[in-house]
Symmetry: C2
Subunit: 300 residues, 2 copies
DNA sequence: CATAACACATAAAATCTCCTTATGCATAGT
DNA sequence: ACTATGCATAAGGAGATTTTATGTGTTATG
């Protein structure tokens, strides 16, 4: 590192001037004036301590020293150019998404294939993780998070509102002669009774109960497990109907009441740094995902 | 050429920051403030269109894109550094001298070896050519020229004054019974009677003659030939005694008169661009040559 | 747990670099 | 000789870069 380099701008100029054997031609290539080239070469020669060009009548030619370094400088610039071509390639064709598990398993997994087909030049990497991503410290283009959509500096699109309703297997419902009123559910085991949504839901249905407490933190990350347990007839789960549309259609789960409880504003959001909203790959994914959500909503 | 590079200064900063994994360390290495590094990286990331670093608590780490380009950028900078090490090497260890033939054959040739021995790290290239070198258009470090020392922008050291005196072989002198007075020379053939120095010399000796005219341009470039002819007894030549010290000592030539003619200020000069007077190799050669001239003068 | 230490971000102001304009000079070609 | 071409140079200014000063968040420490 001991070697301190000359002003880099003068190197770019040198590279062009050496290639052309002319300051005027170089200035044209670089989009600057001939005077600027001359000035830069003067700077560079002063810094290097030895002339790099011989000023001949209608051209300049490299000195011995100039001849030796010119090809090396050219090579170095080729490398730099190559690096940025690669960078653009990477940043255009590589989309990294971090998503909460629930959304990935219940929505994204079965649809992401269509995005790949639509944009086969973009390689998608899906990371599932719990915590809310901070884009300044994680190498991610997009995130899908649950919350209220109030985040600083990010663009957020609501995908699926966080609404909940009890669900159970038809067999289990049958076992107590069907579910007629909300309190019927209390005859059956509640899967994870500590889930705060239970209390919210029963409250909104006018059913009093001391059973339901615990903090109000979302347990959405493990909805899938609760759904599986419910399908297996092990009890009643409180789930987001949007994610179990298929199960309801198939009949492996039933939703006895249309009433849902929701926490206004909460839900699953697509988020990304505001500053990057116009980057093509981000636009493409956003448009695709919002369209998928739209289709999903219409399929009701 | 289609790829336009990001600001090069930001690349130098990136290279250092990537190497250190720290903006603060990089700023120390580069001798600037941490704020400047932060600013440059912001610029670069904006230009590339994608983050290059992830800001982690006590450090920064490269993103995927950053990781890809970092080694390439580093390599490019190594190349640039190598180029300038080489340039310095070339410019330090390669000394190119252009000299008039006379001085080379009569003075330099027999002494240059001692310079090589003294500075075996410097490769000397001797070019002999007639014309006065313009350092801005010839790839030369030093020149030895004849003239009056009045040149623009160059440092000039007088080496050997241009003084002349008739010389001839002892046998030829003997053939007319020895040379007693200047006019005796007129009994013998003058080698190149058109040489203007003849007229000057006879004039200064008080000998009138219509024979001598021609322009006053120095013929020094061909002195060697005239000397050879004189040694061979073909006539009388008017030569610079300093250059034929050996011949005089050996007795192959005699100088019948101590009187010389000289043109004040004219002579052989060491010249080089004023701006480059402090460059080591130039100082070394100058000091060596002036010392050799000194020794020569003392050996009278 | 509070506090100090550390690292990066940001805003405003001061520099300083670099470019352009305008011009001069030398050479080559007509 | 005269014109065109190409580089050098000076002056002036626009813009980039750096510094100073300060803020925020994190880790380490008592």
């Amino acid at each position: 590192m001991a070697v301190k380099l000359p002003p880099l701008s003068s190197l770019r100029v040198f590279e062009a001037a050496a290639r052309h054997g002319s300051f005027t031609r170089a200035s044209e290539e670089l989009g600057m004036t001939q005077a600027a080239v001359s000035y830069q070469m003067k700077i560079l020669e002063e810094r290097v301590g030895t002339p790099l060009f011989l000023r001949r009548p209608r051209q300049v030619v490299l000195t011995e020293t100039g001849q030796r370094i010119a090809p090396i400088i050219t090579e170095a610039f080729e490398l730099l150019r190559a690096a940025f071509v690669m960078a653009e390639d990477t940043s255009h064709n590589f989309l990294s998404i971090t998503t909460v598990t629930t959304f990935a398993t219940n929505f994204l997994a079965e649809r992401i294939g269509s995005f790949q087909i639509l944009h086969d030049d973009i390689a998608v990497r899906l990371d599932t993780s719990m915590s809310l991503v901070d884009f300044t410290r994680e190498d991610c283009d997009l995130g899908i998070r649950s919350g209220d959509g109030q985040w600083q500096g990010v663009e957020a699109h609501l995908l699926i509102p966080a609404i909940f309703s009890p669900m159970l297997s038809p067999d289990l419902a049958q076992s107590i002669g069907g579910i007629k009123k909300p309190s019927d559910l209390l005859k059956l085991p509640l899967i994870d009774a500590s889930d705060p949504w239970w209390k919210l839901w029963f409250d909104s249905m006018g059913v009093q109960s001391k059973e339901f407490h615990g903090n109000k933190r979302s347990r959405m990350g493990i909805q899938m497990l609760e759904a599986r347990a419910a399908e297996a007839g092990q009890g009643v789960a409180i789930l987001t109907p949007d994610f179990y549309r298929d199960a309801l259609r198939r009949g492996s789960l039933v939703q006895p009441f249309n009433e849902i409880c929701c926490d206004e504003g909460r839900g699953y959001w697509l988020v990304y740094p505001k500053a990057r909203r116009n980057i093509p790959k981000i636009k493409k994914f956003r448009d695709w995902l919002l369209n998928e959500v739209q289709k999903h909503a219409c399929s009701l």
